[in-house]
């Protein structure tokens, strides 16, 4: 496996060199001709459109249509209570998008500044079967892409819990919000829930899934049809949708359980004992909670 990966990287290196080479030729040819269209022109135009203040002509998405006039006072907008606890817990996507529609409207560039087209790029984790459609921004991928709609009910506040407008760290002022992560708009622990490593040791597997999966017919449900927890019963996931997708293709399970791992560690999920689970708690699960975080519990299912 490592060999394959190595080759992949050699390839990227070659790619980088090729692109840089291509770019310098492009640049040199520009220097003795009239200003040629930069590859970025199209994107620049897009940005301009989205920058223009009120957009009566813009195709109104349902969420923006009924929006009340937005305050023009930057100071009060920035410190609007909706950006902080407790109001942020009640904020709907529509509330957020009144001002921040841009995060969904701004698309990726069609091509990088050096001309690398987005349709011809793919990352290693996008090799999972479940990865479909064009390159999108991470906001689009997490909120509006077809796949996320099937398996999750993500909203802005699933990840965003406010930030300190002074400089994004807690404790910068006597009354600043607390428990925020330094320099970061979102607590990475939230990301870790779906972007952590596959904890094969805890699951009693002989190796990581990309190695050991074959021995289990690449089918998570081979075991997990019987060993079931209630982890997916949280408000930002669509448990039924996941079930359906998982039956159809185990990559849907793997995607969130190691297949898109950004981080070195895996998320310490709460220990939900399933019917028939042994009474002894294994060492690795000793200090773990037995319930999901309160803010993720589905209404009515709270203990």
């Amino acid at each position: 496996m490592n060999a394959g990966t190595d080759k992949w990287w050699v390839g990227v290196l070659a790619l980088v060199i090729a692109v840089v080479g291509g770019f310098s030729v492009h640049f040199m040819s520009n220097s003795n001709s009239a200003p040629a269209a930069e590859p970025s022109t199209a994107t620049t135009t897009t940005t301009k459109t989205t920058t223009a203040a009120p957009q009566p002509e813009a195709p109104a998405t349902p969420t923006v249509a009924a929006a009340p006039p937005i305050t023009s006072d930057y100071q009060s907008a920035r410190y609007d209570p909706i950006h902080f606890k407790p109001a942020i817990d009640k904020a709907t996507d529509a509330d957020c998008l009144k001002c921040h529609q841009e995060v969904l409207d701004t698309n990726t560039r069609d091509a990088s500044p050096a001309g690398l087209k987005k349709v011809s790029t793919l990352a290693w984790y996008q090799t999972l079967d479940t990865y479909d459609g064009e390159q999108m921004t991470f906001h689009q991928r997490h909120l509006t892409a077809p796949f996320i709609k099937k398996v999750a009910n993500m909203s802005c506040t699933t990840c965003h819990q406010g930030n300190n407008p002074r400089d994004e760290v807690s404790g910068t002022a006597a009354d600043s919000p607390t428990d925020l992560t330094m320099r970061k708009m979102v607590d990475p622990n939230t990301c870790l829930m779906c972007h952590g490593q596959f904890p094969y040791q805890n699951m009693g597997l002989p190796g990581p899934w990309h190695e050991s999966g074959v021995g289990f017919q690449n089918n998570c449900l081979l075991c997990h049809a019987a060993i079931r927890t209630t982890r997916h019963k949280v408000n930002f996931l669509n448990a039924a949708g996941i079930e359906q997708e998982g039956v159809a293709n185990s990559d849907s399970c793997y995607g969130c359980h190691g297949g898109r791992a950004w981080y070195r560690t895996s998320f310490p999920y709460p220990r939900h004992a399933w019917p028939g689970a042994g009474a002894t708690v294994p060492e690795w699960a000793k200090d773990r909670p037995t319930e999901s975080d309160l803010r993720f519990l589905i209404e009515g299912s709270k203990p």
Binding site: T50, T51, A53, P54, I70, S72, D73, Y74, Q75, S76, A77, R78, Y79, C99, H100, E102, V103, P165, R166, A173, A174, D175, S176
Partner: protein
């Protein structure tokens, strides 16, 4: 560190780093300041919060402890100091008040004890004694009495009181001590460009923050009100009828006190000329604006502010943009136009009339002459002018630490005063009989004393109306008002009012709330910054924000000089930090004077505002 925040203000090349090294070598720091500053945190200082404008009282309390505990360096006092006690009074003034007896309460039956001081300055008597004990018994000890507490009503009493403490403990003229005010041990060779014989043909002057008062009340102005000076010359005491102002790189509407009064006054003038490289809020009031070349557009040398032992070459990097000219080009041309060829030539001897168009060779000649005939000749510098231009910097290597007044202490050189001693009792002040004919206008006692300021937290009557004391220290992100128009710095720092957390809670103010700070002189609108690092009862707005007036004359940018008092201290310092004000939440918008969204990280997420 008394009112001193080296993390924000530049006092000598690299002082803040040298102090870090001192900390690593075991030096202990104390900060006396209404704010727990970043200097306090970086140097791990013992913070003693003090009510603004009461520093002289606390120092008097320290002096009391030192005298009553007999901790003073009596040898140093006897040898070098005039008027510290009865024994050091000059013969002609044996009947006048001396400092020690003032402190002990001999004259007014009020000993200036730590307990007495505690009532005034808000520092506990125990802390005053502890600090006095520390200062008097730690050898050497540097009392760095900075300038901000002096920029107050009777601020000179604070500076002189500090000098009394420094000299009674023998901490002057020794390595590791400190003689502030302006105890420079190093002097740069200053003037390179011509300093002509006509530089000043009119010798009368007034205290500059009284100009508006003078214009508005002319001719019904008393000379002491404006500090008219000097007396005894022809036309003595004639109140000036100010008809015009010529600003050279001076931004009064961001920098002088009581801006509303200035606005009234400027409308009465016939002519306002402004030389500047940007259009400042002051420039908006000018009749004539001269666009001035920046430092990058002219050839010059930078002298260190304010004690560094180096010179920096400043080459002309680009030709001046647009119609910009250097100040000297403009003045030379004006000299030719006003006084013809003869005056023009004498004004700028190395130049011809075409200096207005071609100044490079002449400028280089002046700088080269300065380097060769002043720097090289007087300061034992071997590096040639050509080499200096090549290296860009010349740093002096000192054979030993230069200590201010070392020769006075070690070699018996007389001090540069009338008596040749450190004058805690000032012979000059003691001999004035008509204060109105002095530059001060009003009496200054011959020895340092605590004098109640025009307005402060101890004033029950005035604090009933405006309960907060506003101070306006230097910001770290501007040089006074300069660089407020730099996008990067606007992005990096906010103009805001700092308020103590318990005060804010009472008023329902949270960090980020837009508030108005006001008194009878004006009103500003700023965001609030709520912190435990500020003394209760104190507000802080950093000076130099660029004025942005709305239709009702309210400054939306947050320039504290809308609220300051244009009543200078007798010795002349502006009372920038002698201000009572109120604060409350407001619906008015804060407008820092630029597109905030364009300079904020948030524009990444929202660009429609």
């Amino acid at each position: 560190m008394w009112g001193w925040n080296p993390a924000y203000t530049f006092h000598g090349g690299n002082t803040f780093y040298y102090m870090r090294m001192a900390k690593q070598n075991g030096c202990k720091f104390v900060l006396v300041d209404p704010q727990y500053t970043d200097s306090a945190s970086a140097y791990d200082a013992w913070w003693i919060p003090i009510r603004p404008n009461t520093d002289a009282a606390m120092m008097a309390g320290m002096a009391h402890h030192i005298f009553t505990s007999n901790l003073q360096d009596q040898n140093f006092i006897n040898k070098f100091v005039q008027g510290m006690d009865a024994g050091t009074m000059p013969d002609w003034a044996k009947d006048k008040e001396n400092f020690k007896d003032y402190i002990l309460g001999k004259y007014d039956n009020t000993p200036k004890s730590p307990e007495w001081a505690a009532e005034i300055c808000g520092v506990s008597a125990d802390d005053i004694k502890k600090l006095a004990q520390l200062y008097a018994t730690t050898k050497p000890a540097a009392l760095k009495a900075s300038w901000a507490p002096g920029r107050n009503a009777y601020g000179e009493q604070y500076n002189r009181m500090a000098a009394a403490l420094q000299s009674m403990t023998g901490n002057i003229g020794i390595l590791g001590g400190c003689a502030e005010g302006i105890g420079k041990a190093w002097h740069a060779e200053g003037v390179a460009y011509p300093y002509d014989e006509f530089a000043n043909v009119f010798y009368e002057s007034i205290k500059s923050d009284r100009w508006a008062h003078c214009v508005l009340n002319y001719p019904n102005v008393k000379r002491e009100e404006i500090g008219l000076w000097p007396g005894g010359k022809a036309g003595d005491g004639v109140i000036p009828n100010i008809r015009g102002i010529f600003w050279q790189g001076s931004d009064w509407f961001n920098q002088l006190t009581n801006i509303n009064k200035e606005i009234q006054a400027i409308n009465k003038l016939d002519l306002v000329v402004c030389n500047d490289s940007t259009i400042t809020p002051s420039g908006l009031y000018a009749d004539v604006l001269f666009p001035i070349a920046t430092h990058f557009e002219r050839h010059d040398v930078a002298l260190p502010w304010y004690k560094g032992h180096y010179y920096i070459h400043r080459p002309k990097v680009i030709e001046p943009l647009g119609e910009s000219k250097t100040d000297l080009q403009i003045y030379t041309e004006l000299a030719y136009r006003l006084g013809g060829d003869q005056f023009g030539k004498r004004y700028n001897p190395k130049a011809n009339r075409d200096y207005f168009l071609y100044n490079d060779a002449v400028d280089n000649a002046y700088l080269q002459e300065w380097w060769e005939h002043k720097v090289m000749a007087h300061q034992h510098v071997d590096m040639s002018w050509a080499e200096f231009q090549k290296y860009g910097i010349y740093k002096f290597k000192l054979d030993r630490p230069h200590v201010a007044f070392q020769d006075n202490v070690e070699k018996g050189v007389p001090w540069p005063t009338a008596s040749g001693k450190i004058e805690i009792f000032s012979g000059q002040l003691a001999q004035y009989d008509d204060w109105t004919k002095t530059a001060y206008g009003y009496e200054i006692p011959a020895i340092p004393k605590w004098i109640e300021p025009f307005e402060y937290l101890g004033d029950k009557e005035k604090t009933a109306k405006h309960p907060f004391h506003l101070i306006s220290p230097h910001p770290r992100h501007r040089t006074h008002s300069i660089f407020n128009n730099i996008g990067w710095l606007r992005e990096t720092y906010e103009q805001e009012v700092t308020i103590n957390a318990s005060d804010a809670k009472k008023l329902g103010i949270k960090t980020g709330d837009t508030v108005e700070v006001f008194n009878d002189r004006g009103k500003v609108v700023v965001p609030a910054y709520v912190t435990e690092r500020c003394m209760p009862g104190v507000l802080v707005i950093y000076e130099g924000a660029w004025l942005d007036l709305d239709e009702n004359g309210i400054d939306r940018s947050g320039n504290p000089d809308m609220l300051t008092l244009d009543e200078p201290s007798p010795a002349g310092s502006f009372a920038y930090n002698t201000v009572l004000a109120s604060i409350q939440k407001t619906d008015l918008a804060h407008k820092p004077g630029w597109d905030r969204l364009a300079t904020a990280r948030s524009h990444v997420f929202r660009r429609d505002l």
